[in-house]
Every structure is written in C-alpha cells, then in structure tokens.
C-alpha cells in the first residue's frame, strides 16, 4: 500500500496572533511552527497502517523552505520520504491544484490522508478540492479507519451529535481529526528518528501554474471584549438581570 500524507505547517496553538505591513500580512515573528494538529492524527494513523499492513508513507507539503523543519519532524516520526512543492500556499484552490497535479502524476497512492482543516486559516477545503480534482472518493472529519478485505475500508465520520460509519473502497482521500487515533497514541520524534530523518529524501518540486480564487486584502483582530462585569456571589439576581436585559440571551 502507498499512503500520501498531506501536511500543512501551522503556528503552534499557543501563538499570539499579530499582523504587520498595515495589517495585510500575518506576523511570523516569534512563531513556533508545528504539524497541523488534525494532520498529526492522520500521521499517527498512517504509521499504524504502515506497521500493520506494510506501506510506503510519503509526506507532501505545499510551502516554502521555511516548512522544512516541520517536514523533517514528520520524517522523524516515521514517514519514508517527503515532497515539498516550493510555493507560498496563499489560496486554497491554488494549493489544491498543486496537490492534485502531484497526485495525477503519481497515481500509485491508494490512500491520501489529510486533516479536516488547517488551524491557521481554518479552510477545511484543500484536501476535498484535491480529491475532486483527481476524481477520488473523499470522507471528511474521519474518526475511525479500518482496512477490511481487499480494497474495502470502513470509515467513520463525525456527524452532528454522533457518528456515521461508511463502507467504501480505496483509492480514497480522508480528512482526519481527533478520534482517528487515541491522543496517547500520538507520536513524537525520538533521537533515532531524528537522526534517520536527516538522511531521508526530501524532494523539492516547482509549482504549476494555477488560478487564485480568493485573496485576503487585510486582517484585523477580533473586537476586544468590553471589560468583564464582576457579580457578587450573593447577588445572583444581578446576573440573571444582565443575562436577560443586557445580553438578551435568556
């Protein structure tokens, strides 16, 4: 089996978010970059499949050279090799075209694993668009994945207030999330992995021409909350009054 992991490199969850250049750019100063958390669940599942069924695991990232430390981390955790398409992924459609182009040129992948969304721009679309562009079936928000006989797989996805289990076949694109593997199973690189990762191939490919369909013109911070109103614990009527008359939520 051949597995392709789509990985986006994102600011660590505790990062302070700021903007520069007259609020037109994300301020990368002091940002710690990590594997997108949803992709991390997919990565661990990919490692488990590799260990159980034997598979080659290739990680694909669309990004500039600054994503390489994070790509190396994926290699240290256990991916066999990496491919980076050398361009700044500014628009989801543009990024999906790059991924689809790679997949179309490498039709040997049975399973393409992604996260359900990148936690930077929260698009939730790149993997789905790439699936559609390459004519592959796609399941999103995946919280369970098991191989059955031959090409058949059982996939569970999160639905409102529950889960749905689907029987389908490879090739397939999935968008993973928390639940796909247990949190305590998530892997971190060990020393040996880090040493080995240095020798694993990381191929850099040029981007292909593609349309850009959306463009961010400027950023702003969400409005700051007015200062908190403290209510005495012995005066809960005041809270009820505020919730009713000021917030109008009850």
């Amino acid at each position: 089996m051949k597995i392709l992991l789509l990985m986006s490199s994102v600011p660590d969850t505790t990062s302070k978010i700021n903007f520069t250049d007259g609020d037109t750019k994300f301020d990368e100063n002091g940002i710690q970059w990590v594997i997108n958390p949803h992709d991390e669940f997919a990565l661990t599942k990919a490692m488990q499949l590799k260990e159980k069924h034997g598979a080659e695991l290739v990680v694909l990232n669309v990004g500039t050279a600054k994503t390489e430390p994070v790509i190396r981390k994926v290699l240290a955790i256990g991916a066999d090799r990496a491919v980076r398409i050398d361009v700044e992924p500014t628009d989801s459609y543009f990024t999906a075209v790059q991924i689809a182009d790679y997949i179309n040129k490498h039709p040997e992948f049975d399973l393409i694993m992604a996260g359900k969304e990148s936690i930077d721009f929260n698009g939730g679309m790149v993997h789905g668009m790439a699936a559609e562009m390459t004519n592959k079936k796609f399941v999103n928000a995946v919280i369970g994945f098991e191989m059955k006989d031959g090409n058949t797989v059982e996939v569970s996805r999160e639905i409102e207030g529950g889960k749905e289990t689907i029987e389908t076949t490879l090739p397939l694109v999935i968008g993973g999330q928390k639940g796909l593997v247990k949190e305590e199973e998530l892997r971190i690189p060990n020393m040996r992995g880090i040493m080995m990762a240095r020798k694993k191939p990381l191929e850099v490919l040029p981007a292909v021409e593609a349309e850009v369909r959306t463009k961010i013109e400027k950023f702003e911070k969400p409005p700051v909350k007015g200062s908190i109103k403290m209510i005495d614990k012995d005066n809960l009527d005041e809270l009820i009054d505020l919730l009713h008359n000021e917030a109008k939520v009850i």
């Binding site: 679309m125 409102e160 702003e220 908190i228 009850i250």
Partner: protein, 322 residues
C-alpha cells in the same frame, strides 16, 4: 439571478442553520434585488423558510436522496445553481456542509470562503469578513470568481424573521446514483434527546474544578433549566468523567453559542480557542486570578458547589415568572 442556500434538515424539519442562511441571504438580497432560493432534501416543512425570506424552495422528494451523501447532494446543488442562475451559494458550518463544501466549489467552479461572519461589502468588489486563526483573527477576503460559495460561521449572523410570499417546487434532477455503489452508510449512532453541542444556543461547561464525575448532577440540572447543552474541558474528558463528545477547545469541538457558562474551568488558551466565538461568557471560579476572567463578560468569584445550586434556584424562579 438568485442566491441559493442549502437548507439542511434536523429531524426532518428545517434546521436552525438553514434559518440563519436564509436570514443572511435575505439581508443581502434586499440590497441586490435577487431572489432567494433554497434547496432541501425531503423537508417536511419547506414553507417555514418563507418566514425567513426565502422566495422559493426546491424540495427534492426522491426517497433515495433522503439521507445525506456529499457527492449526490453536491450534484443536486449544482443542478439547482444552473436552473436558478445562482451567483452565490450559502452553506452552513455543520459537519455535512463542511464535508460537501469543497465538492460543491468544484462542481460549480466557485471561489469558496469558510467561516464567513459578515455580508459582502458591495457586489462590485466582493469582500467578506471571515474568522481565521481559530477566531484569533479576522480576514477580509475577496472572492475573484464569478460564482461564490460562502460557508457561514454558526451563530455569527443570527436568525431574523422577514416573511415573504414563497413557493415550493418538487425538484428531482437526474442524479447519477452510482456514487452509492462504492460508498455505503452501514451504521449511524446518534445521541438522541439531547441538544447537540454544536447547535446549542446555551452551553453549560465544567472543568476539573468540579473534583469528580459524581458532581455533574448540578451541571446537568443547570443545563436543563436553561435548555442548554453540556460541555467540559479536556482533562475532564481525558479522566473519563465525561464523554469525549463533550470536550471543547483546540483539540475538541469548536462551539459558538449565544451564552457559554464555564464552571471550574481555568481558561487555558487551548480551551478558549474552542469557545471564544461565544457571544457572551459567564465564568464561575473560586480563584479570582483564573485566566478565564480575562476573556469573559460576566464573572463570579466563588465556590461552584455553593454558587451553582443557588443559581439553579434563582433561574427556576425567574423561569416560573416568565
């Protein structure tokens, strides 16, 4: 021309999300003079959408299409877009719609923007605000294509009644049902009878400050009084005190209710990442230095075991007087 919404159902009826989409579409249509058209699948009460400004509901009655399938549904939506000459399509941020979003975008060749929280600034220069960085930023995003697909952020626009005269049409375009051949839903598990977390107007959430699972009775009671859903912090789910579906935050569910009540939760940044889209937040914590107080609208310093039962009594009295 028209604005098309995908009107999801909940227990067979028009969902809350669909009403919010209708309200958004109506507000925009009032500026542009477009028609608002909804596509629904076996909706039991399509007429209810007229209340929120929908001029026409295309109701798919083909029994095979009763249950959601991202590919089949996206095909139907594309057919509706062609038939109604829609330039803009709106979907909600439910799991189903998030799943179908990129597929619809490809089928109709649209620029697609997620987590939209505002109406377009003007139609010549089509720019919408959307939430990015898990609600820590807002990006003004232009859509450069002719057709536009917007995924509206839950609870960010609100529901507004604006009744219009409408019509319901049965809509059964030919759809290639072979997509079901190699894609079969074999099981569905749903928590019934409870308000789904991501759909709730009010959420009562509790953290490690509650000391143990045996103390959740008062949290459930508070939720009952308010008609709220219950949630919890990550350690609470990890300790097995509460089911994992209740875990909210960076690694759990993202919620955006009108009111979020946090009891005995410290307010770590990863927790806030999942809840800071809430309109109003109330914090009950016995530590006046708890970080959550910096993010909330109303705060009470006190012991949860004292404050919550009192609050339940007060709310019961308030509700009885309504």
């Amino acid at each position: 021309m028209s604005i098309l919404i995908y009107a999801e159902k909940q227990n067979g009826k028009v969902s809350k999300g669909a009403k919010e989409l209708a309200s958004y579409a109506r507000a925009y249509a009032d500026k542009t003079g477009d028609q608002v058209v909804a596509v629904g699948f076996s909706l039991e009460n399509p007429e209810e959408l007229f209340q929120y400004g929908v001029n026409k509901v295309l109701n798919v009655t083909n029994d095979k299409l009763k249950d959601f399938n991202a590919f089949a549904y996206s095909h139907v939506i594309k057919e509706a877009v062609d038939k109604e000459n829609s330039k803009m399509v709106l979907i909600s941020s439910s799991n189903d719609s998030i799943y179908a979003g990129p597929i619809i975008a490809q089928y109709i060749d649209a620029g697609y923007v997620s987590n939209v929280i505002s109406l377009p600034e003007d139609s010549d220069h089509f720019v919408v605000k959307r939430k990015v960085f898990t609600s820590k930023g807002i990006a003004y995003t232009a859509i450069l294509t002719d057709k536009k697909l917007l995924r509206i952020s839950k609870n960010s626009f609100g529901i507004a009644e604006k009744a219009v005269d409408g019509s319901v049409e049965e809509f059964n375009p030919p759809v290639d049902l072979s997509v079901y051949d190699e894609y079969k839903v074999v099981n569905v598990e749903k928590v019934t009878g409870k308000v789904p977390l991501t759909d709730a107007d009010i959420i009562v959430s509790a953290g490690r400050g509650l000391k143990g699972p045996e103390n959740w009775g008062m949290i459930e009671e508070l939720a009952d009084v308010l008609g709220a859903a219950t949630a919890c912090s990550k350690p609470v789910a990890d300790l097995g005190w509460r089911p994992h579906q209740e875990h909210v935050g960076q690694t759990g569910k993202q919620v955006a209710p009108n009111l979020y009540i946090a009891v005995g939760i410290s307010g770590a940044i990863q927790h806030l990442a999942g809840v800071n889209g809430s309109k109003y937040m109330v914090v009950i914590n016995n530590d006046p230095e708890a970080p959550f107080f910096k993010a909330a609208d109303y705060g009470i310093v006190g012991d949860a075991f004292e404050v919550v039962p009192k609050l339940i009594e007060k709310l019961k009295a308030y509700k009885a007087n309504q």
